[in-house]
Symmetry: C2
Subunit: 211 residues, 2 copies
C-alpha cells in the first residue's frame, strides 16, 4: 500500500472510531441477514463467519473508544441516520445482490479506513489498522459468489452492473467521513480513492466480473 500524507484527511480520533465502529456493526447486520437468507448451508456458514469477523472488528473499535473513557454508544450515535440511509441505498433485490453489496462496500470501506488509520494519533492508529487488517472473511464471500455465478451464468451481468452502482454510493459515503478541514483537498483525496478503487477492481476480477 502506497503511503500518502493522510493526517490532513483523517477525522478526529473519536469521530473516526465512532463511525468505524458503527459501520462494522452495520457490516455484521448486513452479512448476518445474507447468511439467514442464503438457501444453502455452505453459503450460510461462510457468510456467517464473515459476519463474525465484522463483529470482532466492531468489538475491537468499541474497546478503543472505551480506552479513551468515551461512551461507545454516544460515539456511534451521530452516524446512525447516515448508516441507515446508506444501507437503504446498497440494499439489493435478493441475497446474491446483497452478498455482492457486502463484498464490494466493506471491501472499499475497510481499505479506506485502513488508509485513514495511518493519520490517527498515538497507538490508536496502529491498533485500528491491525484490527482492519485482519481477515474480514472476504475470501469466503468470494468463494460463495463464484459458486453462485458458476451455477447461473446470467448472474455475472446482473452483479457486474450492480457492483458499478455500489462503487459510487460507497465512495460518497467514504468522503463524508473525511475531515472537512482546509487540508482535505481534492489533490490529497484523489490518490487514496484511486488506490482503493484499484483494490476493488482486483476483487471484482477475482469473481470474473468487470468492475
Amino acid at each position: 500500500m502506497q503511503h500518502v500524507e493522510l493526517a490532513e484527511l483523517t477525522p478526529e480520533l473519536l469521530p473516526f472510531l465512532g463511525m468505524a465502529a458503527r459501520l462494522q456493526l452495520y457490516a455484521f447486520e448486513a452479512l448476518a441477514a445474507v447468511a439467514a437468507a442464503a438457501p444453502g448451508l455452505e453459503a450460510k456458514v461462510a457468510v456467517s463467519s464473515a459476519a463474525g469477523a465484522a463483529l470482532t472488528r466492531h468489538a475491537g473499535l468499541v474497546e478503543e473508544i472505551r480506552r479513551r473513557d468515551d461512551d461507545p454508544i454516544e460515539a456511534m450515535r451521530p452516524y446512525a441516520d447516515a448508516v441507515a440511509a446508506f444501507a437503504a441505498q446498497v440494499a439489493g433485490s435478493d441475497w446474491r445482490e446483497d452478498l455482492l453489496s457486502a463484498y464490494v462496500v466493506f471491501g472499499l470501506l475497510d481499505d479506506f479506513f485502513l488508509h485513514l488509520a495511518a493519520g490517527l494519533p498515538g497507538e490508536f492508529g496502529e491498533r485500528s489498522a491491525r484490527l482492519l487488517h485482519e481477515d474480514a472473511g472476504e475470501r469466503a464471500l468470494a468463494v460463495v459468489l463464484q459458486r453462485e455465478i458458476g451455477a447461473d451464468p446470467r448472474l455475472a451481468d446482473v452483479l457486474a452492473l450492480w457492483g458499478r452502482r455500489l462503487v459510487g454510493d460507497t465512495l460518497l459515503m467514504a468522503r463524508s467521513v473525511l475531515s472537512s478541514g482546509p487540508g482535505a483537498t481534492d489533490e490529497r483525496i484523489e490518490p487514496v480513492l484511486t488506490e482503493i478503487i484499484a483494490a476493488h477492481t482486483r476483487r471484482m476480477d477475482a469473481l470474473g466480473l468487470t468492475a
Copy 2:
C-alpha cells in the same frame, strides 16, 4: 446441576454435534435479526454480542465435527428442515417478542444440550460442555428485555403469555434430539425436563415475568 444418567438419552456423537452446530447457527441468525430490527443502539450492541457468542459456539462445534474427520455441512444438513419449521413456530410479531424467543428458546436448548453432553463419549462431551457453558450473552439479553418492559408496562403480560407458548414448542424440539433407543424412557427424560424448566423459571423471574 444434578447429574442424572444420560448415556441412554444422548444421541450418537455425530447427530449430537450436527444438530447442536445447526441450532447455534440458527441462534446466531435469529439474534442477528433481532439486533438489526432493534431501534436503539444499546439494544443493537447487546444483542449483537449475544449473536457473536452463538457464532463462537457454532464454530467450536464445527471444529469438533472436523476433529472426527466428518464434514460439518453434511453433519448439519439433516436438521435443516426441522430447524426451519421450529424457527417459524417461535417467530414473534415484533423484535421484542423475537428477543424473548431467543432468550427462552436458547436458554432451554443450551441447558438441554449441556445435560446431554455428559453422555457423550471421550473428550467430546467435556469440550462440548465447556463450549455450551461459556457466556451466551444471556445476561445482556435480560438487560435489554428489562429495559423494554420498564418502558412499556403492558409488554410484561404480552411477553409472559408468549414465553409460555415457547416452552411447549421448545421442549418438543428438545425431545426430538434424544436417542430413540429403548433406554430413552419417560422416567429418564422427566428429571432432565424438570431441571431445565426450573432454570427457565428462574430466567423468567429475572425479568419479572411469570413463567
